[in-house]
């Protein structure tokens, strides 16, 4: 059964190739949706089988492409014992992630069939979506860091194409570039971490016995590494110690922060929300690029548990993003900026959960956010198209004009705000409980001061994060109908059946999906994701109560803001907040002075090199011109040359067969 995981990963790739066969873009989209649906069904089978066999060891299936024997000589030195393997692994984490990724991708594609109708790049959009899905599925199913890095990069490439879907607009192209470059910092950090890990630990891991069912011991395999960390920590590995672990985990943290758009590497997310098509935003902010960062830390968490000080750093960066995102979202009146900051805040909360060792809660928040975050983006996409504006102050009356979208928006906003019994409530309270409990699976914990900061930040993030989505809903759905010149309110309507169907399906999950992970219950989500861990159950009730109270308080504050009973602070402060405290402007300045100014120097070098290259090109041109003259285009010339060639070959054969050529013997 576990072998079906291969199908889950490879079906989207097959669909990507198949989708180029049909001529009609509509058919191509159908192929894409069908293949994703098949992948989702397979993923569900794998997940259910895993649930039924929850005590199994992680299942691994690998294909080794190439093996470097110990002491293979490479340029610049020796390479020891490296096995280039790709494969799939099924444990609680990857089973859940595969199901969620394929499901969300399926609904995103269904949404896109309606949303991208009449778009010129219809086929391109769908095939690239499918390729991105393949990359993410292969990433979550990776058994080793090598494959994870491979698809980490592939994911960046796919989303460069997707974000730049409307590349004819300069802003879209620039947003895609910005995203690619900023997340590229993370890619570089991950590569550095892998190289560092390999040079430090490969020799030691190669000495370990190979895992059962495997012929080789891959030094980058997660399960080999897992056993290695404790050995490193206790000083049993020569040449590495606690400092190795700290450097490694800091590099991985940097990689994860760039992918998950955490402050201060969040700059690319705003551009994506402003320029990318809605389906791409939904995918990017729920289960792909942003989730990849969280997934990386969740997957490598044995390393982080061995370096507990870095876990505090993870938590503090998460808390910074959670609070900053929630505050900045509140100051936004642009629906795209609001959702972008809300996403930053959500990913910040996940990092807080990772930082206190509540990895299950982080993954549960990731899944719940995949549902309600997608609905928020779906509904926002429909609203922006219907109202032809991105300013929520110019929308209104959607409750009657767009019945499905506005109700889905209500569910998602309430879920995001932690309204009692909705999905977001359970996940947020799992995080709150995790921070209050403050206990790693290996019985470590973050220090008291850090814990205090985290508690305050999570509380602030939950309270403030509840306000902005609900306030947006109140304005958009219950507010006055907008009066603008040239705007006809009666033309505000839904985008069609497939758009509303996808939105509704996810909204239902955002409402009831949380019952899978009620914190404190033994047979719950987090205990399934990390099966072989003692479940932490303390502080669950307190977490539930705090989240419920904060969520309700946030909702009432949002209502007060909407009714005008409460006002945000002075306009200038709000404007500053809306710009995200000018962090992006600071980056612009740095880029301007560090990159743009010295750039002409590079051009000079380029000219010098380019001149020589030009001469080379002229040489090739001349040669081609000479050769061309031999082509006479006459039958007699062709015949003579064919006969001459034939005579030559025949002569050689005769000479060879009679033994007159050296090194060629007669065969008879």
């Amino acid at each position: 059964m576990y072998n079906l995981a291969w199908a889950v990963v490879l079906l989207p790739l097959g669909g990507f190739l198949f989708a180029f066969l049909p001529e009609s873009p509509r058919r191509a989209a159908q192929v894409c949706v069908t293949f994703t649906a098949a992948a989702f069904v397979m993923a569900m089978v794998v997940l259910l089988y895993r649930v039924a066999h929850v005590r199994d060891n992680p299942y691994q299936s690998m294909v080794t492409f190439w093996t470097f024997d110990p002491g293979t000589k490479m340029i610049g030195g020796f390479i020891s014992d490296f096995h280039m393997q790709v494969g799939v692994v099924v444990d609680g984490l990857s089973a859940v992630m595969m199901a969620v990724v394929s499901f969300v991708s399926l609904l995103v594609q269904v949404y896109a069939t309606g949303f991208m109708r009449r778009d010129d790049g219809y086929t391109r959009h769908f095939t690239t979506l499918l390729l991105a899905t393949f990359a993410m599925l292969a990433l979550v199913a990776s058994p080793n860091l090598f494959q994870l890095w491979l698809f980490w990069e592939a994911l960046g490439g796919c989303f460069f194409l997707l974000v730049g879907h409307w590349w004819q607009r300069d802003e879209a192209a620039s947003a895609a570039r910005r995203m690619f470059l900023v997340t590229g910092i993370g890619d570089l950090a991950l590569l550095l971490a892998i190289v560092f890990l390999y040079t430090k630990l490969a020799a030691s891991i190669a000495l370990q016995p190979a895992p059962p069912g495997q012929s080789v011991n891959d030094p980058l395999n997660f399960f080999s590494l897992q056993k290695e960390w404790t050995a490193v920590m206790s000083g049993h590995v020569q040449g590495s110690g606690p400092r190795t672990l700290i450097i490694l985990s800091l590099l991985l943290l940097l990689a994860a922060m760039a992918k998950s758009a955490l402050v201060p590497l969040h700059g690319w997310l705003r551009g994506v929300f402003e320029e990318a098509p809605a389906p791409v935003i939904a995918l990017i902010s729920s289960v792909t690029v942003g989730a990849a960062g969280v997934f990386l830390i969740a997957r490598m968490d044995p390393l982080f548990l061995a370096a507990p000080h870095v876990l505090s750093v993870v938590g503090l960066f998460g808390a910074l993003s959670a609070v900053a995102g929630a505050v900045f979202a509140l100051a936004q009146s642009d629906i795209r900026g609001l959702l972008a900051w809300l996403t930053v805040s959500q990913f910040g909360l996940m990092f807080v959960a990772l930082g206190v060792g509540a990895d299950g809660a982080a993954i549960f928040q990731l899944v719940a956010h995949a549902w309600f975050g997608c609905v928020l983006v779906f509904a926002a996409g429909s609203l922006v198209t219907a109202y032809r504006t991105t300013d929520i102050r110019e929308m209104g009356g959607a409750w009657n004009a767009m019945r499905t979208s506005s109700r889905a928006l209500l569910v998602a906003a309430a879920s995001s705000a932690g309204a009692v019994l909705l999905a977001g409530f359970w996940s947020l309270s799992a995080i709150t409980a995790g921070v209050l409990r403050n206990q790693f699976p290996n019985l470590g914990h973050v220090s008291g001061g850090v814990k205090g900061v985290l508690i305050v930040c999570v509380a602030a993030a939950v309270l403030l994060g509840a306000m902005s989505p609900l306030r947006m809903f109140f304005t958009v759905a219950l507010g006055e109908l907008p009066r603008r010149r040239g705007f006809q309110p009666q033309r505000v309507r839904e985008l069609g059946g497939r758009v509303t169907a996808a939105t509704t399906a996810l909204a239902v999950l955002a409402a009831i999906g949380g019952f899978a992970g009620i914190p404190g219950v033994r047979a719950s989500f987090s205990n399934f994701v990390y099966t072989l861990r003692p479940p932490g159950t303390g502080s669950a009730v307190l977490g539930l109560v705090i989240t419920a109270v904060l969520g309700l308080a946030g909702a009432s504050l949002a209502w007060a803001l909407h009714r005008g009973a409460l006002r945000l602070p002075a306009a200038r402060a709000t404007a500053l907040l809306a710009e995200g405290l000018r962090v992006d402007a600071a980056y612009e300045w740095v880029v301007q002075h560090v990159v743009v100014r010295p750039a002409p120097l590079v051009e000079t070098v380029d000219q010098a090199v380019g001149g020589n290259l030009d001469e080379l090109g002229t040489g090739v041109d001349l040669g081609a011109e000479t050769g061309r003259r031999w082509q006479l285009g006459r039958i007699d010339a062709v015949t003579v040359s064919a006969l001459a060639g034939g005579a030559l070959v025949a002569g050689l054969i005769v000479l060879g067969a009679t033994g007159h050529l050296p090194h060629v013997g007669a065969t008879r």
Binding site: R628, G633, R634, D636, T639, L643
Partner: protein, 105 residues
């Protein structure tokens, strides 16, 4: 004097040379085609002769079969080539190979 294998092989070689010369020297496209046929048939004669006179006492049938194939392939070639020739004539109003140098580089 009986005709032996040598005679047939020499005949085949001579015919092939005639065909090759015609192929190069003829200006008329129809003539070029006929020369190609002569070359084909020269090779068919060689094949049939080897089949008839055998090799070291064996008489392999494949030579005869090959000869038959060559004849059939030649017939097919004639059909295709004459239709092409007709088309060339209809479009260009000429069958002079010197005028047909579209493949000139």
């Amino acid at each position: 004097m009986d005709a032996g294998l040598d005679h047939f092989v020499v005949l085949s070689a001579l015919l092939f040379a005639v065909g090759a010369f015609g192929m190069v020297a003829r200006r008329n496209l129809l003539g070029v085609l006929m020369s190609a046929q002569v070359m084909l048939m020269a090779s068919a004669i060689a094949l049939a002769a080897f089949a008839r006179f055998g090799y070291k006492g064996t008489h392999p049938l494949s030579g005869a079969v090959f000869a038959l194939f060559v004849v059939v392939a030649g017939a097919a070639e004639v059909i295709v080539a004459t239709s092409l020739l007709l088309l060339v004539h209809r479009r260009r109003d000429t069958v002079d190979v010197d005028a047909l140098d579209d493949l000139r580089g």
